[in-house]
Symmetry: C2
Subunit: 326 residues, 2 copies
């Protein structure tokens, strides 16, 4: 397992490149719920998501170890694609991203804007196959989205930064896709603040991690899940991340309607763009808080803020702001 | 006319209460346009808009002059309602807000959440009449939305703060409703950075300020304008603000489609919630930049981030993110 020193080293490596994202609060929300809630706004991170941290640490670790790649590659339809494209551009390394053709045009465009070459593939499986083949080329390094220690250490720097600024945090909440963010969050929290609970949130419609924890072995989704939380649609967690996920204090499975509710409310209260994947952590927090006695101080990692137009319409189809959080 | 000292005094008065909002940048946007653009993110201000500054300065000025009111009142359907309710609560002063019944429920609710008493009035005219009547009561102070020196000085602190952080700014852009923000912005800019142009933006569908400047006398809109920029729907500017508006270096009239275009793009690039009223400044900037030679450094005041559900649907009805800014 990684150590706190690994996270600290990652933090040092990525310092020049990433944003020192703010910690936000809503006094209205705190009053309504009767707790103190801190939001680490990774939606204001480079590329609009925490993924910039992991990709940046992965590449700079290679360079530090005199293994500077000639090219980096990745397969992703989402934030990881942008993160690798952006991180590679920071170090002047060419990047090729294999994206399924169904990826949203705005995400393809954003990835291309960072200077990456885009290979559009008919299906996700073809993208997976092509990236594997490309990875065999000499000097090419494939940056995996979560099941990789350098990536995990990078993602862990978000909680690492926040827990250096905040004390007496009772619980930290983060969403679960492949488990990279939660693994890093658990690492930082268990060392910096051992009494703090670390709790995950997953869409009920994509609950492979919760199922895996129940069965104590990695379970794979049978089909592409139907969820607005596109950052948590991963088909299965990894063998490395699963070992960290076992150490969590809970994994909440969140219904789509609650995800939409909190996406609307967090955008409204915090005035930052919150993607549905981030909003599930708030619902998990709300469920956990209602089972607690006494006033709590909690930290929520707002993982990202990338929303495309069709999802905006789905999020705002009905007004949920007439029901005040309680 | 107010002096720089008035703005500095306002800044000192409101310091304990307001947010020190960040200045945001988008490297993608800067690359695409070939200029350096700084955004003062007043959408992250208390109540989600710069209006908190003016309301807070107005009340604290009264207290400083031993004129602490027993009650403050205001008439507004928008950000000013919330600003007065919030500012009054900071000083423990009861507030009553007269709101037209057609105000959006989320704005009524937000205003009430700050502890204000809400008087819903059938029409805007009735609200105006009732607030005038209420203002006659002993100890009651009516905080006007823009045509007031304490309010103008407060709004001017946004540019005051930004111009203390940034140097060599070629132009500052802000939207025009009643002209309070632009008046304060001109004051700060003309003293702190005399060479900087100060340029306003107004919806073409609510262009009373541009009309007033063309005719050199205050023109009033004939009917409630049809625009998504609900913060710039004011029927006429005030006699105090008009004197400042005459000193501006331009007033751009912005079409609804361009407002929607930049609302989508600024939200997408900056990951903060940008209301259409703020986006018009970016279109004005884009027009101005395309008439300039050489690379410019400009400042845009993002006035606020309060958007209700029905406007979200209007903003995101069609995807504008497939047309990259140039």
């Amino acid at each position: 397992m990684l150590t706190l020193q690994d996270i600290a080293n990652a933090r040092g490596r990525i310092d020049k490149y990433i944003q020192d994202t703010p910690i936000l609060q809503s006094s209205l929300l705190n009053n309504w719920l009767g707790h103190e809630i801190f939001f680490k706004a990774e939606c204001l991170q480079k590329i609009g998501a925490f993924k910039a941290r992991g990709a940046c640490n992965a590449i700079s670790s290679l360079i530090e170890n005199n293994q500077r790649p000639k090219r980096v590659i990745a397969n992703s339809s989402g934030n990881h694609a942008q993160a690798v494209a952006w991180a590679a551009s920071q170090f002047g390394i060419p990047a090729t991203i294999f994206m399924p053709a169904y990826s949203s045009s705005v995400k393809i465009q954003a990835t291309a804007s960072y200077g990456a070459k885009i290979e559009l593939c008919e299906t996700r499986n073809i993208a997976d196959e092509q990236v594997r083949k490309a990875a065999e080329e000499n000097g090419t390094y494939w940056i995996p989205p979560f099941n990789n220690e350098a990536v995990i250490a990078g993602q862990g720097t978000a909680a690492y930064d926040a827990l250096h600024q905040l004390d007496h945090i009772d619980a930290v909440f983060a969403p679960c896709g492949g488990g990279g963010l939660l693994s890093g969050t658990w690492l930082s929290s268990s060392h910096l603040s051992p009494k703090t609970k670390v709790i995950g949130a997953e869409p009920l419609n994509a609950n492979d991690a919760a199922e895996s924890l129940r069965k104590n072995s990695i379970q794979r989704l049978q089909k592409v899940p139907d969820t607005l939380a596109d950052g948590a649609m991963t088909m299965a967690v990894g063998d490395i991340t699963f070992e960290y996920l076992k150490k969590l204090d809970g994994m909440h499975e969140i219904e789509e309607s609650r995800m939409i509710y909190w996406t609307q409310w967090l955008s409204h209260l915090l005035k930052v763009q919150v993607e549905p994947t981030s909003a599930i952590s708030m619902e998990a927090a709300s469920q956990w808080l209602s089972s607690q006695s006494g006033k709590k101080r909690i930290l929520i990692i707002l993982s990202g803020g990338n929303i495309d137009q069709s999802n905006f319409l789905k999020i705002w189809q009905h007004n949920r702001l007439d029901e005040i959080p309680s």
